[in-house]
Symmetry: C2
Subunit: 380 residues, 2 copies
């Protein structure tokens, strides 16, 4: 089947408007909001074959396919989703959603606040993983999906999959938690805070209300992304790819690009700063910091997971130092202690945290075989 | 002897003026320059008991003692240097020097350019480790020191100790290379470049000539230091000290300090930005990036070290991920391949890279016993 992999083809985004108020973990209330989403494949008659893809920090609802035949890049997880791919759209009805607070069409800091007619900016409330899961559940209601065949996500997306299994136990058959962690470490939070301070201290940030100032905090967002990138790649992977390679073959003794790694990071930062919203970046890093499902259960993750009814696939990557295998093992140990069914895959890879977006064969094979079993359970 | 450890007491900095031109690796020539230094203990009649302390990124010549009885903190390595301490000033004549390009009294970007009467700023040339070693050798000449009993440094300081053994083989009896690396990895360079970009993109940097603008690039330097600090501490050490501890006991859902680690990092950044020079910070990170003694020898470190006549102590710390034990082992393997005498200590510590400034007992004991042997060789 892997020899006949195809693209989902041309896709279109959809919008769902929610007019009922949403109470958030922070205590703030959002009177109404929009969620942007995409679907691929067909929902079966029994409505049992739906799969939710949860995105990470810089992701969105455009998960697979292209909007136009000449679109440069397909959706961000196109490698994994399509006819004959591990998340097989001949079997599954796949839903991608842009999280609330995002900057790709769902309500967020850069979207218009209906109450003022101007961008929300600093007025948009902070989000948490449970808030997102709540909004995704409302979207599932709208789509007539009582229970997901699987909720799947990497990194921050994996946290949403885990939270789904806790908050809506009866609505998740399988949770696939990839390159994730049960909560952030002090070091994780520290990196996030440096990224935030870079944005917050950019004079063009204007306290979050730069939209009205015809300004963009590009410099801060660029630094945040450069720093993020270091934590997405492994030391070894970076060494293999860039090492100490020089741009011009010799030292130039100035602050322009000298090493290839500098060129790569700066250009990644520049590209990102032109397309992503700084307030969304801040909000996403805070949602990461806040995530801690064990907290309400005396810091006992097994206790938090006891209510889950899902089966779990947990995947980690050996060279991921942002959320190392040890962090995934904490989840696995808690699931075992909570008497849940769990498959754990620790994948040998030099791709670091980014490996969840890559196609290391043992990873692809694991995803494929696990999801084939999920489909077979459904008779799909 | 450790029970009778004493301070070196009240110390005073000295200046040495060098009027002969200094040709740098970059090709730039500095017509004259000042080096600020301090000494502790007495040079013996044979002038054989001198020890040079090389500093790291943010260090300087004030290594031990106090300038006034009420000075808040002593020199930065006071724990290691003094009567009865591992670097025992009853036996050794200890020299600390502020590297050229520094911001503590030696000529540097923030000092006056005699040719213009204004701060050097962007006009100060970039430095390399071999440049520093050359200036330190001139200082040794001035002090009448033909041969150091030991050249000692941690991190970037360790690189200087290694370079000394290569560039002036006959002038170094022992090189103590602590928490160092034979060259930076792509990841190391990447972190340095993010720090530099933070400074370079600060609107108050003014291309390095902020001195004339009555401005200080505090924001960029603060970010650089916050980021640096993450790489100086270990993930585990940070976890033990700060974990997910909250400042006010509960989430506040805003961008002010929430976690204690944020408070710590921001205050470290603020303090540093008020006392350190941004151009010196840039210059120091570049010297780190450039360091690669094997480069001129076909990337063969053993070949580079073959000319060394020193004996070596190499020390690493298990939780140091900036310059991990693996990087020290590369040095040790090259020394062995070059048929040099080397003692290697891999110290169990949770203090990360900063451990070289701490007093983990196995580290202190190793330094003490190694340096006792050095002193005994001298009959000191």
């Amino acid at each position: 089947m892997s020899n006949t992999e195809q693209s989902v083809g041309i896709v279109a985004a959809q919008s769902a408007e929610f007019a009922s108020a949403l109470e958030l973990c922070s205590g703030s209330v959002l009177p109404s909001y929009t969620l942007k989403y995409e679907t691929y494949g067909e929902l079966n008659a029994a409505r049992t074959n739906a799969v939710l893809i949860c995105h990470a920090l810089s992701g969105h609802h455009h998960v697979a396919g292209r909007y136009h035949p000449d679109e440069k890049s397909p959706g961000w997880w196109d490698s994994m989703i399509g006819p004959g791919k591990p998340i097989d759209t001949r079997r599954f009805f796949v839903v991608g959603v842009n999280n609330l607070g995002g900057c790709h069409g769902s309500s967020g800091p850069s979207s218009l606040n209906p109450a003022t007619g101007r961008a929300w900016g600093s007025g948009f409330p902070l989000m948490t993983v449970p808030d997102w899961v709540k909004t995704q559940a409302r979207l599932a209601d709208r789509l007539g999906i009582d229970r997901w065949a699987a909720v799947i996500g990497g990194s921050l997306g994996g946290m949403q999959a885990l939270q789904w299994s806790i908050d809506f136990p009866e609505r998740v058959a399988h949770a696939l938690v990839i390159a994730s962690a049960p909560k952030l470490s002090a070091q994780n939070i520290a990196f996030n805070d440096v990224a935030r301070q870079a944005i917050l201290s950019d004079p063009d940030f204007h306290g979050g209300d730069f939209y009205q100032q015809n300004a963009l905090p590009r410099s801060g967002l660029r630094l945040a992304r450069m720093l993020g990138h270091i934590t997405y790649l492994s030391d070894d992977g970076m060494g293999e790819k860039f090492g100490r390679m020089l741009r011009s073959g010799e030292f130039r003794y100035c602050y322009d690009v000298e090493f290839e790694i500098e060129s790569y990071l700066r250009s990644q930062g520049d590209k990102f700063a032109n397309v992503f919203d700084a307030n969304t970046y801040l909000l996403m890093t805070k949602a990461l910091d806040y995530f801690d499902p064990a907290q309400a259960h005396g810091d006992d993750l097994a206790l938090a997971l006891r209510r889950a009814q899902a089966q779990f696939l947990v995947v980690s990557f050996t060279s991921d130092w942002r959320f190392s295998p040890q962090r995934s093992r904490e989840i696995v140990q808690a699931l075992i202690a909570a008497d849940k069914k769990v498959v754990y895959g620790e994948i040998e890879s030099s791709h670091g945290h980014d490996a969840f977006l890559m196609l290391d064969p043992p990873y692809v094979n694991l995803m494929r075989s696990y999801l084939r079993r999920v489909a077979e359970e459904l008779g799909a």
